[in-house]
Amino acid sequence: MLNTMKTDYSYTPSRIDPAQSQLLRAQINEFHAEYCAVLDTGDVELWPEFFTDDALYRITSRENAELNLPVGLVYAEGRDMMHDRAVAIARTQMFAPRHTLHLVTNVRIIDETDSGEIEAQANFLLVQTLIEGPSTVHLAGRYYDRFVRAQNHRLLLKERQVIHDTAILANDLVYPV
């Protein structure tokens, strides 16, 4: 199995002091709000800026996660790969116009290390709307995140595993989640 990738998606009790958890939850909620605002307004080229240079980003099904299979619908090792994907989507790809709306909830802070690395989870719903189409729940799932602090104390993702319950994807997934 690959070194840096999270492989255990079973229930993990929080190991953090409740007061600290509350503090971090507020900051991480803020992070999710900005992250989703970028995606939901269609500024996909800003999306890589939420990650560290060496971040790992993967979207995969719960089936793959539970079988410990490494494949990703999207699999990016490092921000440069995310940048290339963002540019490809924004400037070269052909797809029907669509709007996306992310709803993020149930933020859980699992742990914080001495060096300030934060392990957290959150549930998400991704609603997609096509021209003359219904608004559909396109993807339902959970983020498994590891955050670190940039020099200016801003939170950045060092790893984001987007694990979706949705078993059969409707046609395709264009934008990152």
Binding site: L69, V71, A76, A88, T92, L169, V174
Partner: protein, 429 residues
């Protein structure tokens, strides 16, 4: 199964034609009528004559069921089946329908079991699909129960013929279908052996998506090299496929039902597109460069002149060898207007960790979020919506006109023509 986008869900009545009204256009080789994509009666005949007819249908990779008792859910056409490995190592395929009251008893995508027990009345079956036990078979207190002449061996699950070749498992309803090596035909077999040389595979994961188009469109798309240089500007920009590259569009010379689209990547990372070609490709973007070029690397691991081959094996398998990202796709028809695609991405047991990572990185090209994959899905959805709702009803197929089968040119529809020539014979159109 289900269809996920249901607002545009109506087919114009004339397009949902009865078989009796399905008459092929006079200019037969150069036209495809819309009703092949939209008629329920045509679809029903396809299930009977093609998927349940004299064909081998892909159902699994052996690497998914390596141990005795391993099983997975699968499909032959639209019919749900279970693929198992019995105690003696043999592979079995049977319908996922209890012989008693029809319940689809196997509910997990995959797993390991000693037997299958239908949850409704607990009839139990062994790993080969034989009926083993019926609760209260002799009744209770000498009342009720099965008649004396009821024999378990007459009431097993509906079993299919099974064959495995180099780790790839196929099933068939037909006892007349030829052996798999012969079925694949020599040209296809040669390329099939490149990705499947018989060495152990390592499963890297699954994608599953619904594509709202007729199942045949997926075959056509991979027999249509014309679109690849036009729709997929990503390919063109990064030199993965350029009109004028060394390439081939092969149709098997026995029936014309299987195909291989192949291309050979040049040694340069980026394509050098000449101005005349550039003019024809309006999606071309000059000077696009990647920040992380690792994912375009091509590790030459196969003895083949082609860096990319997309193989279509009639009626439900696609073998993808896109440089170093490997996969099979199982086409599951889901009514005339929809298909479910089950993707299995794989590498080999002897891959290094770096090779596995390389395959994963290159995997961004394919799948329902792949730079190429998503554009195909979008385009096929557009076509299905167009043929369902329009008043005109003919598709034009005149590129490389007069040619049927293999073509040296990418600007050709000869392989699609070959597929429909074969299809019309089987379907009697």
């Amino acid at each position: 199964m289900y269809q996920s986008q249901s607002v545009i869900g109506q087919t114009v009545g004339a397009k949902d034609a009865a078989l009796a009204d399905c008459v092929w256009p006079a200019d037969g080789l150069n036209a495809i009528p819309d009703w092949v994509y939209t008629s329920q009666e045509v679809y029903d005949r396809e299930m009977e004559r093609i998927f349940h007819g004299d064909t081998w249908n892909f159902v699994a990779l052996e690497a998914e069921i390596p141990k005795p008792g391993d099983y997975k859910r699968s499909y032959v056409g639209a019919t749900p089946v279970v693929v198992t490995r019995a105690e003696d190592g043999s592979i079995h395929v049977f319908e996922n329908r209890c012989a008693h009251r029809g319940a689809e008893f196997c509910r997990s995508s995959q797993g390991n079991a000693n037997e299958f027990v239908c949850p409704y009345h607990q009839w139990s079956y062994d790993l080969k699909g034989n009926l083993q036990g019926i609760p209260f078979k002799r009744g209770v207190n000498k009342a009720g129960g099965m008649p004396r002449d009821f024999r378990n061996e007459d009431h097993g699950l509906r079993k299919l013929h099974v064959t495995a070749y180099h780790g790839v498992v196929f099933a068939s309803y037909s006892d007349k279908v030829e052996p798999i090596e012969q079925y694949l035909t020599p040209e296809i077999l040669e390329d099939f052996n490149v990705a499947f040389p018989g060495k152990p595979l390592k499963i890297l994961g699954y994608y599953r998506n619904e594509v709202p188009c007729n199942w045949k469109m997926y075959h056509e798309n991979l027999k249509d090299p014309y679109h690849a240089t036009l729709l997929h500007s990503f390919l063109v920009v990064f030199g993965l496929l350029v009109a004028g590259n060394k390439s081939m569009m092969l149709a098997d010379s026995t029936h014309g039902r299987h195909g291989i689209m192949g291309s050979a990547k040049t040694d340069d990372l980026y394509a050098d597109v000449n101005p005349e070609t550039k003019k024809e490709m309006r999606s071309f973007k000059d000077g696009m460069r990647l920040r992380d070029e690792r994912f375009l690397n091509f590790v030459k691991e196969f003895d083949s002149p082609w860096s990319v081959t997309m193989q279509t094996v009639w009626p439900n398998l696609v073998v993808q060898r896109e440089m170093n990202t490997l996969g099979v796709r199982q086409i599951v028809p889901n009514g005339p207007n929809s298909l479910i695609m089950n993707w299995i991405m794989f590498g080999y047991e002897d891959d290094t960790e770096e090779m596995t990572r390389h395959r994963l990185r290159q995997g961004n090209l394919m799948g329902p979020s792949g730079f190429l994959g998503l554009e195909d899905n979008e385009a096929m959805k557009f076509v299905q919506e167009g043929v369902r709702r329009s008043s005109s009803d003919i598709n034009i197929l005149k590129l490389d006109s007069g040619k049927v089968g293999t073509s040296e040119s990418l600007i050709s529809e000869a392989a699609i023509r070959a597929m429909y020539q074969y299809y019309r014979g089987v379907m009697e159109f």
